[in-house]
């Protein structure tokens, strides 16, 4: 039953991301809810499950784009592993630390993806507009997503 809940959460996150970017993005900008979901899962879930979530969220993002297949999967897997290592030293249950983590990790992930893309495909996928705005949108939305995910874990035992 829990596994079914995990699968459902995975698809619902994808649907929510699609709906938000399609209907509520302003000037082509919106929080990256898949990134935030991977981040929150990394904080809340058990490490093995979080890694699987991170990988499959990355695959989902890779499927939506036309660039290198596997780049987001690698980025989010490393993101989850990084967060897992960091959370032993920091209290990530507090909203402020979630905001800072989301902000910093957004920049790190964007630069990592950019680097991968330049090295392997020689194309520049990152627009300056996104680079300057998306991390702040992510940071603003991070505590809300964390709240929803932690409620889901408490109520239904998902994650």
């Amino acid at each position: 039953m829990r596994q079914l809940g995990d699968v459902l959460l995975y698809f619902l996150t994808g649907v929510f991301y699609w709906w938000w970017t399609g209907h509520l993005s302003i000037f082509g900008m919106a929080p990256d809810f898949i990134f935030l979901a991977a981040l929150c899962v990394a904080i809340i879930a058990s490490p093995v499950k979080a890694l699987a979530y991170g990988f499959f969220f990355g695959v989902y993002m890779d499927l939506l784009g036309t660039n290198m297949f596997g780049a987001y999967a690698l980025t989010y897997t490393l993101l989850v592993y990084g967060i897992h290592s960091m959370k032993r030293h920091f209290d990530m249950a507090a909203p402020f630390s979630q905001i800072i983590t989301a902000l910093v990790m957004s920049f790190v992930c964007m630069l990592f993806y950019q680097g991968l893309s330049l090295v392997l495909a020689k194309i520049n996928p990152l627009s300056l507009k996104n680079f300057l705005t998306e991390p702040f949108l992510n940071a603003a939305a991070a505590p809300f997503i964390f709240f929803i995910f932690s409620r889901l874990k408490r109520k239904f035992g998902i994650l």
């Binding site: 994808g14 993005s25 082509g28 093995v48 784009g65 036309t66 690698l74 996928p125 996104n130």
Partner: protein
């Protein structure tokens, strides 16, 4: 505790290696199969999500549209009778044209057949790089089909189909950094390469230095290109750059015929290809 840490490390290494394999061997059969299988995870979003969101969003409008449709229907019935007469006359002219074109060896460009599709997803991080449409192989869409959009009542080139699933497809717009189109002005004279830059503009390269290219010149796809049918409106020259001393061609910026930001519906056409490039 150590056991759990070991397991976490092993799982992390497994997923990292898997990701790197996907990255390094994108065109192998196994990776392609994995991609196709993983593509089905987009179904809840891009098929069911877009389908029901579309219906739900349009319920109030649909009531009004129903009333208007009834009125229009009556007017259109009369119009149809009138047009039927024209159609019969046009059909005769079309048959004659097809016959004469075939005789002259010019039959590859017409007729255009295709399907209308709605744009169901655009990725903010890849805004000018890709989008999804709600038609797939079940509706006859095939890889590399040409996508047209309409702006101010005029059709223009938007891109081509990149990946096809059963009920939706991924499109590669001409603004993507890896897209390129062979184009020429309406009057001909030279051919050049319009390339996507990942922004709303296109870059026109390899324009011969002696060509009289001016800002405002309208450009069309060239029949010489394999991917797109000839004669499709591509865009308008926005700015011509002076020749650099070390190059023997000039470059220009092109404003695409259709603004990708406003794209809601597109027409996917299956251009008939010559026998030699059917498998392309």
């Amino acid at each position: 505790m150590n056991k759990e840490k070991d397991l976490t490390d092993y799982v992390a290494v497994f997923f990292v290696v898997l990701s790197i394999l996907l990255l390094l061997f994108p065109s192998t059969k196994i990776v392609h199969s994995a991609r196709v299988i993983a593509g089905y995870s987009l179904y809840p979003t891009l098929y069911y999500g877009s389908k029901y969101a579309y219906y739900a969003r349009n319920v109030p409008d649909n009531f009004l549209a129903l009333i208007r449709t009834d009125q229009e229907n009556r007017a259109l019935k009369d119009k149809i009778k009138e047009l039927e007469i024209y159609r019969q006359s046009a059909a005769a002219v079309f048959d004659e044209n097809t016959r004469l074109s075939a005789a002259l060896g010019l039959s590859n460009r017409l007729p255009w057949k295709g399907v209308w599709a709605r744009v169901t997803n655009k990725e903010p991080s890849d805004w000018y790089g890709s989008f999804f449409v709600d038609k797939g192989s079940r509706q006859g869409v095939a890889q590399n089909d040409t996508i047209l959009g309409f702006e101010s009542g005029r059709a223009g080139l938007v891109g081509r189909i990149f990946e096809v699933y059963h009920d939706f497809s991924k499109a590669l717009p001409i603004t993507n950094g890896v897209s390129s189109v062979i184009c020429s002005p309406e009057k001909g004279g030279f051919e050049a390469l319009a390339e996507g830059k990942g922004t709303w503009l296109l870059k026109m390269n390899y324009v011969p230095e002696d060509s009289e290219l001016l800002a405002g010149t309208e450009l069309f796809t060239s029949g010489g290109g394999l991917l797109f049918p000839g004669g499709v409106y591509l865009g308008r020259v926005l700015k011509v750059y002076p020749k650099e001393s070390f190059m023997n061609f000039i470059t220009a910026d092109i404003k695409p015929a259709v603004n990708g930001n406003n794209l809601k519906e597109v027409f996917i056409l299956h251009p008939p290809k010559a026998d030699g490039i059917k498998g392309f």
